[in-house]
C-alpha cells in the first residue's frame, strides 16, 4: 500500500473492548495486534470497562468495528446494554459488533438476534476474523 493510498480513502477503525469484571486480556491484545498488522486502526479500551464507557468510546471514535471480549459469562447483561447505548446515539446501524470469548452455544443465537454480527469462540483462526471484518464492515455514505 502506498502512502498516497493510505492518506486517502477509508481506513477501517476498530475498538477492542474489555467489558465487565474479567481480567483476561491476552485475547484482546492478540486480536488488537493482528488487526493492526492487517492494516486496521485499533483502539484498545483497557480492562474493566463499563458498557457506558464502551458506548462513549465507540461513538466518539466513530469505529467501524466494535469487538467485545467477554470471558466472565456476563455477556447476556453487558452486550444488550452496549447495543442499547449505540442505538441511543444512532451509532448502531453503522457499527459491526463482534463478540469474542466464552459464549455458550445457547446464547449465540440470542446475541446474533440482538444485532451482533458474529460470535467468535476460542481457537478461531485470526485470518477468519479479519476476513469477516473486511467482508462485513458496514457501508457508509
Amino acid at each position: 500500500m502506498s502512502t498516497q493510498e493510505r492518506e486517502e480513502g477509508r481506513q477501517i477503525r476498530c475498538l477492542i473492548a474489555k467489558v465487565g469484571l474479567d481480567g483476561h486480556d491476552r485475547g484482546a491484545h492478540v486480536i488488537s495486534r493482528a488487526f493492526r498488522d492487517a492494516g486496521f486502526e485499533v483502539i484498545y479500551s483497557g480492562l474493566h470497562r463499563a458498557p457506558d464507557e464502551i458506548v462513549q468510546a465507540a461513538v466518539q471514535e466513530d469505529v467501524d468495528v466494535l469487538g467485545i471480549s467477554i470471558l466472565s459469562g456476563a455477556h447476556n447483561t453487558l452486550v444488550p446494554k452496549i447495543v442499547e447505548g449505540l442505538k441511543e446515539y444512532d451509532a448502531f446501524e453503522d457499527t459491526l459488533i463482534l463478540v469474542g470469548g466464552i459464549i455458550p452455544d445457547d446464547d449465540r443465537d440470542e446475541m446474533l438476534e440482538m444485532g451482533v454480527g458474529a460470535v467468535f469462540g476460542p481457537g478461531t483462526p485470526m485470518e477468519e476474523t479479519i476476513e469477516f471484518v473486511r467482508e462485513n464492515v458496514h457501508d457508509r455514505e
Binding site: 492518506e7 480513502g9 493492526r36 492494516g39 483502539i43 484498545y44 479500551s45 461513538v59 471514535e61 466513530d62
Partner: protein, 354 residues
C-alpha cells in the same frame, strides 16, 4: 464553497451539538472522503472560540495522563473539552494501535469530553492537515478547550506550533541528556514547560536546567556573572537584559506536575490561561492565526498540485515505467521532471502574462 446534501445535514447536526455528527465529520476529514472539503469550508466561519492547547514531549513523559487530568480539571471549572490524541501508524501496513484513550480514566462517561484517537497515517502532510481540520470541527462544535496530544518526540512535534495557540512541552526529571538533546528541537517551541513526575529524583535539577535554558535564550549574558571574571556590576547586566527590544515577549514558564494524582494541574491551567490572555492582549493570537492560515493555504496548494501531477504521471504510463526509462539510461530524473512539469509551467507563464 458551500456544502450540499448530506454534507450540509452533517454540518447542521454538528452545529446542533450531535456527537455522532462530530465523530463522523472527523472520520470524513481523516479519510479525505468526498465532500470533506465542503464540510471544513462550511465550518470555518463557526471557528475561533476555542483555546487550542498542544501537548508534546518524549514517549512516556506522561502526556496522556496529564491530558486526562487537564480535561477533568477544565470540566470541574465548567468548561467543555475536545481532545485529539495522535499515535504513530505502521509504515508497513498502515495499521495502528491507538492507546492514549486508556489513560482517560477521569473522564469516563462524560460526553462533554470528546476524545478522539488519531493515527498519524504516514507522515507526508496527512497528519497536520487532518489534525488541524479536526480541531476546527471541535472548535465549531463549541468546545471551550481543544487539547492536541502529539506522538512521542520526533519531527512532528514542531508541527504542533502550526496548529496550537499554546504549546506545552513535557519533560521528565532526570533526563539531563534529553534536555541537552531537545535544546535544538522542541524546547524552542514551548510556551510552557511542564516537568512531569515532579515527585521523582532529579526534578529540581531539571526545573533549574529548563529555567537556565529559557533565560539564556532571553538574555545570553545571564549566568556569566560567576565571579570568575571579577565583579560584573548589576547595571551592566540590566543593560544587557534591556537590550531585548520586545518588552511584550512571552516569558516561557516552567511548571511542575505529578499527572498521576493531578498535583500542579491547577497551576498549569492558570499558566495556560495567562498565556491565552497574553495572546489576546498583545494581538499575537491573530498573528498566529494568520501564520497558520498561510501555512494551511500553502499546504493545500502543494497537496493539490501534487495530486494533479500524479495524474500526469499516470497518464505517462505510471511512475514505474518512468523509473525504468531512467534505469535503462534512456533519460534521467531531471529530464523526466522537466517534461512532466512543463505543461504546468506553460499554464502558469500564460496566467502571469495576462
Amino acid at each position: 464553497m458551500t456544502a450540499t446534501g448530506t454534507e450540509s445535514a452533517l454540518v447542521g447536526d454538528l452545529l446542533d451539538g450531535k456527537h455522532r455528527a462530530l465523530a463522523r465529520v472527523i472520520t470524513k476529514i481523516e479519510n479525505r472522503s468526498p465532500g470533506y472539503r465542503d464540510i471544513v469550508s462550511a465550518l470555518h466561519t463557526h471557528t475561533g472560540t476555542a483555546d487550542v492547547i498542544g501537548i508534546t514531549g518524549s514517549p512516556g513523559a506522561g502526556k496522556s495522563t496529564l491530558v486526562d487530568k487537564l480535561a477533568r480539571t477544565y470540566r470541574d471549572r465548567g468548561e467543555t473539552v475536545g481532545v485529539i490524541a495522535v499515535d504513530p501508524s505502521s509504515p508497513y501496513t498502515g495499521g495502528a494501535v491507538l492507546g492514549d484513550r486508556i489513560r482517560m480514566a477521569s473522564n469516563v462517561g462524560d460526553m462533554d469530553v470528546f476524545f478522539r484517537s488519531m493515527s498519524a497515517r504516514g507522515t507526508l502532510g496527512g497528519l497536520s492537515t487532518a489534525t488541524s481540520d479536526a480541531v476546527k470541527a471541535l472548535d465549531a462544535f463549541g468546545k471551550d478547550k481543544v487539547i492536541i496530544e502529539t506522538v512521542g518526540a520526533g519531527q512532528n512535534e514542531v508541527d504542533i506550533v502550526k496548529t496550537a495557540d499554546t504549546v506545552c512541552v513535557l519533560v521528565q526529571p532526570g533526563s539531563g541528556d534529553d534536555v541537552q538533546m531537545l535544546k535544538a528541537g522542541i524546547l524552542e517551541i514551548g510556551d510552557v514547560f511542564v516537568v512531569n513526575k515532579a515527585d521523582m529524583d532529579g526534578a529540581e535539577r531539571t526545573v533549574a536546567e529548563l529555567e537556565e535554558m529559557i533565560h539564556m535564550r532571553e538574555n545570553p549574558a545571564a549566568g556569566l556573572n560567576t565571579g570568575h571574571h571579577g565583579p560584573v556590576d548589576d547595571e551592566e547586566m540590566e543593560q544587557v537584559a534591556l537590550d531585548d527590544p520586545d518588552e511584550e515577549a512571552w516569558d516561557p514558564r516552567v511548571v511542575e506536575t505529578v499527572a498521576t494524582d493531578a498535583t500542579g494541574v491547577d497551576d498549569l491551567i492558570d499558566t495556560l490561561d495567562e498565556h491565552a490572555a497574553w495572546l489576546s492582549e498583545t494581538g499575537r493570537i491573530d498573528d498566529r492565526a494568520r501564520t497558520r492560515y498561510a501555512e494551511e493555504i500553502r499546504q493545500l496548494i502543494r497537496a493539490d498540485t501534487a495530486r494533479l501531477l500524479e495524474e500526469v504521471i499516470d497518464a505517462r504510463g505510471g511512475i514505474d515505467a518512468l523509473a525504468d526509462d531512467v534505469l535503462s539510461k534512456e533519460t534521467d530524473p531531471y529530464s523526466v521532471a522537466d517534461e512532466l512539469v512543463g505543461p504546468v509551467r506553460e499554464c502558469v507563464d500564460e496566467e502571469l502574462e495576462r
